[in-house]
Amino acid sequence: MESEQLYHRGYCRNSYNSIASASSDEELLDGAGVIMDFHTTEDDNLLDGDAASPGSNYAMSNGGGAASSTTHLLDFLEEPIPGVGTYDDFHTIDWVREKCKDRERHRKVNSKKKESAWEFTKSLYDAWSGWLVVTLTGLASGALAGLIDIAADWMNDLKEGVCLSAMWFNHEQCCWTSNETTFAERDKCPQWKSWAELILGQAEGPGSYIMNYFMYIYWALSFAFLAVCLVKVFAPYACGSGIPEIKTILSGFIIRGYLGKWTLMIKTITLVLAVASGLSLGKEGPLVHVACCCGNIFSYLFPKYSKNEAKKREVLSAASAAGVSVAFGAPIGGVLFSLEEVSYYFPLKTLWRSFFAALVAAFVLRSINPFGNSRLVLFYVEYHTPWYLFELIPFILLGVFGGLWGAFFIRANIAWCRRRKSTRFGKYPVLEVILVAAITAVVAFPNPYTRQNTSELIKELFTDCGPLETSQLCKYRSQMNGSKAFTDDPNQPAEPGVYSAMWQLCLALIFKIIMTIFTFGLKVPSGLFIPSMAIGAIAGRIVGIAVEQLAYYHHDWFLFKEWCEVGADCITPGLYAMVGAAACLGGVTRMTVSLVVIVFELTGGLEYIVPLMAAVMTSKWVGDAFGREGIYEAHIRLNGYPFLDAKEEFTHTTLAREVMRPRRNDPPLAVLTQDDLTVEELQSVINETSYNGFPVIVSKESQRLVGFALRRDITIAIENARRKQEGILLNSRVYFTQHAPSLPADSPRPLKLRSILDMSPFTVTDHTPMEIVVDIFRKLGLRQCLVTHNGIVLGIITKKNILEHLEELKQHTEPLATSWYYHKKRHPPSHGANGKPRSRVHHVQLIRSFQDGWGRGGEGSDEEDEEEEVVCLLNGSNL
């Protein structure tokens, strides 16, 4: 984004002028005077600095405000420049660099520990900050989940009516103490008024039905409208489920503001509205996003995490575990979800912290007790009935259904989202939300299974038919004549109540399938877990009742004969619903272990692991047969995020040379030389190219690699020098070496940029197989890698080059929409702002033969005194 705008040529010219005008001739003279001092004292100072503890730079960081004396000037030369080592929006972080930075910081804190009590306290704080931040994250995400649960329940019931005695109670809470004792009146209490009762004064009849219908649609539409408006005005990043983006962020991508305060607030508020509006969406996925926002916000309290993007991602991993933990009441499932689905880098330390955060979050939610059932989720169930081996066949069939549904859903939803992305249709997000909400509300109201909250529907489907159930699903014949003594037997012939329930369930299934495809991807917070589970639960319940009836009518079949005697309780339709829910969720997300554990924690029974595993694995296999990626990977690919999936294997035989930039017909690689560029030349290189980093070589003649400097760091350093160091002019020499180059006496003071030079860039030779390069990128989380031949820089491979390459190789499968790294100008336009072709005189023109892999042989002995220097990655960048 930002980088797209970096290339408004017209403005680049302005920045030149501003830099040029800032330094006048007087300063030149002053500057020249300073240079002399500079030359004489710099080396000593440097040696001192190196000899002293590595923390010496750190202490100076608040120094150089007023550069009046020479010593001050020297101080801030070594002082870290603010902003260096940070990243631009929509850029990829360099994990290796971040980890190095953290180790350096850790060493500094440790070495200063013994200096004073205060430093010791600081080191303790630093050591504990990891646990503190996950504790705070757990507390906050538990509290927010409680808020969302309570508010969503209340708002959902607001569509039907209102509690007159206490406005803030939902239907269930409103009738908490009422004395309606008979089954017929159990849901009617005088305090709770439906809208028809309030407006028309009558509770029954077609008039009140129409009134309720109208109010239902009215509330649904207004909730949806409010939600999409709030999202659009305050925090557009709050829409969607957030899991694809969090996956990308955790893999090392920067999306500024995605985990910010406003996103958190708007996501929390609008999630309630979106769930209450009756759209076919759930709150589980967005809860992960909410928890990650909490993690990100709390990490700002701790310098260890706020200033290091890699460390911050450890907190985010823990936060996503806390999010799933509160969403499903499954702390272990949450940790496994974080490990299996979202995290990219998951060391053991993060595992423990994730578990801790998940437990804290679950505990907080449990003490809030949002549903009044002392459970974390509405659809918690407990079964005690055993299952039989024969039942594996329907379970596996459910798995097949789940896999088919998953594959179909991914295809259809991605096709729809691509349409939204690429055509004019996507220009009307508010209208689209309103339309979908209206259709959902109009169709959902007549069917009792779609009218109610999806979580409640799942609960009803999961719950086994006991003698106390009043739902339509349990209207078996025997229960109608209450005089019978043995009413406990659920294996009864179905009666019209159940048949009509079956019809309604079938219609609800079709409705849910269609609406979910169009709902996921709307510009409101929308999760996928609950609708998927609902679809699976409906299908599972239908299958369960079918098997039950089969067993009842054919109990003399050899299959049923052995274990299903007449009157025995042998089939549990609720269990089928649960297995179906797991299978559908597995088909959509392609999770396995974490899903089974989540469902296992929902039921609290170990004995159903085998059916669940069978169904989930089957659904994964069936789904994988149609397309290997889950919905989140599909969305990542649709949006073209730079996400390098660790699950995919790279099996092609290309070499690094074929993937690196520049390609054969491209202009040569833009490189910087270590000591013979001027500030002006450097600026023109930066303004005329769009690359995010430049290799630094010894000289045009030798072309040996010295290091790598990032574009952002260079711009910040130049701007910083321009402000704070006197005597830096456009024709000042820029050098990356330890010692300033020898200059003519009348030249302006040189600018030392060694502190921003990455002296240990990752390099591979041009004949390295891509298999290895991809592995290096995945495992180390590199941002870029230089390609060398005999120590000479040939080109560069970035993460995005690799993704493009993978995409190219994948072309024969299905071409996706151009991802955004195609939109970005990788190759700078060949024309400057004034329309003239750009000159490239400042770039080293690499000889073509290098790129073809022909070495130029012994390149001379220009090594200088590089070897004796202490190679210190990013020295002095404490930020």
Partner: protein, 178 residues
Amino acid sequence: MIKSIIVDNTHVMANSEDVRCKCICPPYRGIEGHIYKQNVSLKDCNCLHVVEPMPVDGKDVEAYCLRCECKYEERSSGTIKFTIIMYLSILGLLLLYMVYLTLLEPMLKRRLFGHSQLIQSDDDVVGDQQPFANAHNVLSRSHSRPNMLNKVEHAQQRWRRQVQEQRKSVFDRHVVLS
């Protein structure tokens, strides 16, 4: 917020209204199914304590009670009340602010400054995206010390620019979250 919830919790525990024992008894020998609710403690939450008056004779009590299912439930009405009121007030504030931002402010601005101001502010947005001004931003963030009012103004301006940028990438260019 967490603290207040905990305070509410302890406050509410004393409230006897928030505890109930609910027994659902199915139909039995011509007696209709009944639902009984009582305020009793957890250990008293069984059919014998809750079902009053007992609809059957002494010898049938055991058989009747075996079929009843008793559930002890508790809630904290204080938390619910606090949550809903807080939620609604935040929602209300946001809505007011939204109305102000989308409807009132452009109107006021137009009345006060005319069109030139609006155009200029648009220019600023674009101008900030060039490479060196970007660095300028980063540096000035850490060094300038304006007074409180300026700071607030500046923060608001920056936030708005961010949201605008987000809106552009989500709704117009469709590069994220589509």
